[in-house]
Symmetry: C2
Subunit: 491 residues, 2 copies
């Protein structure tokens, strides 16, 4: 695959010009400010003929690109659509090659003027050898370069890259991803694809050593056959997780408004997923859950689950969602069952799969003792542990503590003991079985914020955490399907 | 339908005996303590021959039921399974009629001993005219009576009753429901149904003036035909929302362990929902979302949605989920579109349905101005408003505020202004169109805890709030389906 050095310049620019930067703070999308906030270490040049010689956000403003005193690695265009062609001519004159057009009002309007403007953008780009991201998009978010156009910035780099036709989805994934330990190498929002498109970016990510997992959100595609071939190839080495928006009638209409995309039919996309082995997701939550699973769980064959949790109804619900997602709940070996029966009281428990052992979960020592034989069982591939968050502190003598401070301190101590034990078990991982946690509500009165805290602590320790059994099993099923495809593709 | 005065006694007891109460605090299920915590105002009698004459949780313990000096309205049995028949004989001797058997270890074990014990329970109950809840269940949770067996108690009464074969689901629904404004009239966890079953409780709830919405979680049913007829009848006056657990192969196996239920096939339950018009849900989250919708939205025909939100990708995702749930996104009238176009800037917005008006949402005055014509549009039935929580404070001059305290105060002020405006609009509700909110993440850096706070504030004002577009549209689709069924059933 082609590796293009120009991308390197765009992704790690030393100089960025913001054309259309204004002294007034816009209601949204102040790119000079967003770069400053992100701690961008290169030089930022605000461009605005009306503000020439003045300062914008403390930086000297220039009337146009050619007046900037050094080469510009990345140009961000925010002027109204009708002015964009003239700015692109200015880019050619200034020898600036990498352009992000934020401005909307092109093909996606469905109106003659917008369509003609986008035709002009293509023509000028072709003539000048410009590499255009957009128009109608948020552009680039590169933590390692401290470069972003978004209001929200997660400064921590990670191995995930996200190619998104939606800037909104990209911003949300960055913001929400950080909460579950997903950090990014490169995020590209590319909107109408008048210049570069998904294929160009995917070719780069395939060879990018900083990218290990590739996520995509697409509404429409130019060359579907080429994309399919490319994704099939890339997916062999790096998981490609694809969310196709606009697969329904209403969704396709909305996509046509959004990026002017002509979506392609559901059947075509079914074939795309089948042929490429790309992981299919249908929402932002699913994208986050699946990505987190790939981040934290080593490659693994199998879909046999041991489901541990509290409550008979919960076991039934968990078994139902496993079945709906095509996961298996094998009967554990007699050895495992006997070992568990040897110390787990029969009242209110069921030593089967799902394991309903609520009472055991209330004592962290018993819990660890129960996890051990389950992890050792040769018939299972993963442990999914549905933990009602309140259980962390349920066994403590709330009623014997008089003052609130003592109570909170005791609860905090108990919480930390439970977490340390659980994390220690997962890290020892003697039997090489992934431990996945579902943080359920309930299980007694939790400490305020305890679920969020447990999510943070477990994620930080590299343990995948899901908020519902549905989300956990769906993510695991997709993870399993990916590795089944990989295994078949190799034979 | 039969109205049985004995239920009144059980649901509003003046005296409760806990048979098997112990001086040692059990790891779980200290029912004397739970009643005390809930503020039960009647008298509690701990029964334990080994502790006779001593005190348990500060209360005098009795050796058996007959030694209690007054009639006992409700007996809670927590002794081991093998001792339960003897306690039931004691109930007959003491003329106690209402019995909750918490103890497990009966038919659900699948073992001969348990099956025989359950047979004995049935025989004694029949002979003595005992009204038995359970065995193998959590029993009763009646906020108005300050009566509960659960560790967690929501003291606020409400119009929802929950009949659940799972005590765990019941506890979770009570705990989680309170967060979204769902409060309960009666919650009954009835486990193995050796005495009373879903039909008995449903008959009571049908006539209970304190119950307006009936939720059910079932694993198995004794008399399926009778249940179907009863639900069909009750559902005409009070929405019956039914979650059937164990509909899959793995789930049915787990249900057999849990309550000894023989589940019935998927096709049978499909017919049940079709014939009764009961609202079908498949998870606890769905149960909560649908119940909240029925609580806050007045009866209404139609499934035409105006979807307002921020971001093109978000619009596509919203349109896709509407289509998947069978909701409609009609094109708004020209009058509405023109009115919106008159003040909404075209850049970065799409005046269509879904309405992508992120910039407008950043200014609460513009937001209210946009809501008005949409609510007035005769082609729509509901407004679903997908609000990125951060937008509440996104327009504020974070960068011009130096110290953190001033920033938090300004953000707080802006948050309250936005909420007051939104709640005011919903309450005026000039055009009788329900406003449903989806609190999305994103939209700029939110205040800590703002999403939770917004959820609480909006719910308190009677505005339904959902955490994702998927959950909102699914709940609305089920709500719409219920009212379509009602309308057909009347003609």
């Amino acid at each position: 695959m082609a590796w293009d050095p120009n991308f390197e310049v765009a992704f790690h620019p030393r100089t960025v010009a913001v054309v259309g930067a204004s002294r007034e703070r816009p209601l949204w999308g102040d790119f000079v400010l967003n770069l400053q906030r992100a701690g961008f270490e290169g030089r930022i040049y605000p461009i605005n003929p009306k503000a020439a010689g003045e300062e914008i956000r403390g930086l000297k403003a220039y009337p146009n690109l050619v007046s900037v005193p050094e080469p510009i690695d990345l140009v961000i265009i925010t002027v109204p659509a009708a002015s964009v062609p003239a700015v692109l001519e200015d880019c050619i004159a200034a020898s600036a090659k990498n352009i992000h057009i934020f401005t909307a009002g092109f093909r996606e309007t469905g109106e003659e003027q917008g369509i003609e403007l986008e035709r002009q953008v293509r023509e000028i780009a072709g003539r000048g050898g410009l590499r255009i991201v957009g128009p109608n998009c948020m552009g680039l978010h590169i933590p390692a370069a401290r470069l972003t156009t978004w209001d929200v910035f997660d400064p921590k780099p990670g191995p995930v890259s996200f190619l998104s036709q939606s800037g909104g989805h990209a911003g949300l994934f960055v913001g929400d991803g950080a909460r579950v330990g997903i950090h990014f190498s490169k995020v590209v929002s590319f909107g109408n694809c008048a210049g570069l498109d998904a294929i160009d970016f995917l070719e780069y990510m395939a060879d990018d050593p900083e990218t290990g997992i590739i996520c995509m959100y697409m509404e429409g595609v130019g060359d579907g056959r080429k994309l399919t071939e490319l994704v099939r190839e890339v997916n062999r080495n790096k998981p490609v997780i694809v969310w196709k928006g606009g697969l329904t009638e209403w969704g396709a209409k909305a996509a046509a408004c959004h990026t002017g995309a002509l979506g392609g039919q559901k059947e075509v996309w079914d074939a795309f997923y089948r042929q490429t082995g790309a992981v299919r997701v249908d929402s932002l939550d699913e994208l986050a859950d699946v990505t987190m699973t790939f981040l934290h769980v080593p490659p693994l064959q199998g879909r046999r689950i041991a489901l541990m949790g509290a409550g008979g109804g919960n076991s039934v619900a968990g078994a139902d969602v496993c079945a709906r997602e095509g996961l298996e709940l094998p009967t554990l070996t007699e050895k495992t069952l006997n070992e568990l029966r040897s110390f787990i009281p029969p009242e209110g428990t069921f030593i089967t799969n799902p394991l309903d052992i609520g009472i055991v979960l209330r004592d962290v020592n018993l819990l660890l003792r129960a996890l051990e034989p389950v992890a050792a069982d040769p018939l299972i591939d993963y442990i999914i542990f549905a933990l009602p968050v309140g259980l962390f502190v349920a066994g403590m003598p709330f009623d014997r503590l008089e003052d609130e401070r003592a109570l909170l301190e005791a609860a905090d101590k108990q919480y930390r003991l439970a977490m340390d034990s659980l994390i220690g078990f997962a890290h020892r991982n003697v039997h090489k079985k992934p431990l996945l946690l579902v943080l359920q509500v309930g299980g007694g009165p939790p400490l305020p914020g305890m679920r969020r805290r447990a999510q943070r602590d477990l994620i930080a320790a590299g343990i995948p955490v899901y908020l519902t059994l549905e989300r956990a099993t769906r993510a695991v099923a997709k993870f399993a399907q990916y590795h089944e495809h990989q295994s078949k593709a190799q034979h």
